[in-house]
Amino acid sequence: MSITILKPGLLTTIQDNGRWGFQHLGINPGGAMDILALQTANTLLLNNKEEAVIEFYFPAPIIQFNHAAFIALSGADFDASINGTKLPINQPIYVPENSTLQFNNKINGQVGYLAIQGGLELIEWMNSYSTHLKAAAGGFEGRALKAGDEIQLAVQAPKSSSSKDCSILPWKADTHAFYNHASCWFIPGNEFHLLTDEGKQLFTEAGFSITSQSDRMGYQLNGPSLQLIEPKVMISSAVARGTIQLLPNGQCIILMADHQTTGGYPRIGHIIGAHLAALAQKSIGQVLHFKPTDMATAENLLLMQAQHLHQLKNACNLQLDVYHRH
């Protein structure tokens, strides 16, 4: 039971919910850029919602299924197809053996996920399957996938007697609401008050575009230069995913999945957890707008997202029951 990578794509890695509990050793959590997409794809298949999946950018990989499998795609829509059949995101799909999954166009979003029912057979590194590229550990041999890699699957789906084609199962996840905010909401950071009045105004009113110096570590932004009332020398302390740091040149960086554990730049704000999925799906050149919010709102939105996933799980359970009875 396996899949084979025929073409690797731009950056294709194994990711899960991240490697937690080791940041005191400088080992950053990493994990999927879009945790909501990871959880959605897994939930559609009734996997553990944090099961390891394949994360990819565009150009995306071409993947051969050597055995039948149930899969789900989530996150970016890269116009997937198998043997000419177009595949939707956020819907479970039955893939017969000897099929080739490919992605034809970048339609929407930046980073895609492929979850496979039952998960992937890999070796954990420090309690996680996430690929830690810097440490060359975790995931598949601690590196991005390349052509010829064969990844074992934990379970094989039954062979379909009725059809040699793939079939799209009749239930789906609607995550639309979590990806369509006009602005990125943030909780003001501990150094926000050190911005000049003009800096505060610019930060919440101007647009900031994502530059090409952006990757899984962080988004370097290009916008009006922000100034502090006076220079601030800071001793390094912990940073988190979504932290917006002000660099000495007046530009901002938003820390993403592979961010370092500590940093010493002023923290303008922190993107709220419920908006990180949408942020992960932004492409280079897109313009971000920032809007302050409060902790109660941020926490409630995060809870709503979790409840949405829980409802999706219940719905999928029900649908799977019906499906198996037919």
Binding site: W20, G21, F22, Q23, H24, L25, G26, I27, N28, P29, W125, M126, H132, K134, A135, A136, A137, G142, I187, G189, N190, M234, I235, S236, S237, A238, V239, A240, R241, G242, T243, Q260, T261, T262, R267, H270, I271, I272, G273, A274, M295, A296, A298, E299, L302, L303, A306
Partner: protein, 238 residues
């Protein structure tokens, strides 16, 4: 131990920082390490990561899980209350310090900034080495890269600031100075510290169950070794 003043602030909606000031001081870092061990030992619910730094400690927590069991309070406030409770207990722990000696070859081929440091201090290279090896350093925190130890305090005479233009590649094992701090690059990486030598030891070894040689709170002494010894230990490590 005397109680230090602190402030608690959020670093997002799933993390908070307890800050004991903005300084590199042993007493402050002791308070950080006390709390770190306290939180580890008592396994406070919903905490998924604890990050001690020079003068602060940060906690990452599961906001959704806290809110589910405590719907009428902010998860941030709930976590803050747990931490304050723990802090009231945290003076009772004995800090257990490991002392580790790290061999370093201070050869100009492995420490390309040795001359610059010597010029800055108006000392000979031998005197720079003597100053760097004379002190017992404390690992105040690990950060930047997996296993990168931030150690202090470097002798004032050789407290050269970071390079204005960082190198694009610093070899693994390189020992550097950045102001009052000294550190070791566990992996090859871009970096801006002033490089004065290299250790043949693996500071980060992914094949080990505990991949990091050093942990926060450890005490480190550097021992000068010859280029010959460096290559010999290097070979043994392969």
């Amino acid at each position: 131990m005397q109680k230090l003043n602190y402030s608690i602030y959020p670093i997002g909606d799933s993390a908070l920082t307890i800050e004991f000031g903005n300084t590199i001081r042993e007493e402050t870092n002791d308070a950080v390490m006390q709390l770190f061990h306290q939180l580890k030992k008592n396994q406070v619910a919903y905490i998924i990561d604890i990050i001690p730094a020079y003068s602060s400690i940060s906690v990452i927590y599961n906001t959704v899980a806290i809110k589910k069991s405590n719907p009428n309070i902010l998860a941030f406030d709930w976590m803050q209350q747990q931490i304050v409770k723990e802090m009231e207990l945290s003076h009772v722990n004995e800090l257990n310090r490991r002392q580790i000696t790290i061999p370093v070859c201070y050869d100009i081929t492995l420490g390309p900034d040795l001359n610059e440091v010597a010029d800055y201090a108006t000392l000979s290279i031998e005197e720079v080495i003597a100053l760097h090896t004379a002190k017992l350093y404390k690992v105040y925190m690990i950060g930047f890269l997996p296993g990168f130890p931030y150690m202090a305090t470097v002798d004032e005479k050789i407290q050269l600031p970071r390079k204005s233009q960082p190198r694009t590649k610093v070899p693994a094992g390189s020992v550097g100075i950045a102001g009052a701090q000294t550190g070791i690059y566990p992996l090859a990486s871009p970096g801006g510290w002033q490089l004065i030598g290299q250790t043949p030891l693996k500071i980060f070894d992914v094949t080990l169950e505990m991949p990091c040689l050093l942990q926060p709170g450890d005490e480190v002494r550097f021992e000068s070794i010859s280029l010959e010894a460096f290559h010999q230990i290097n070979k043994q490590q392969q």
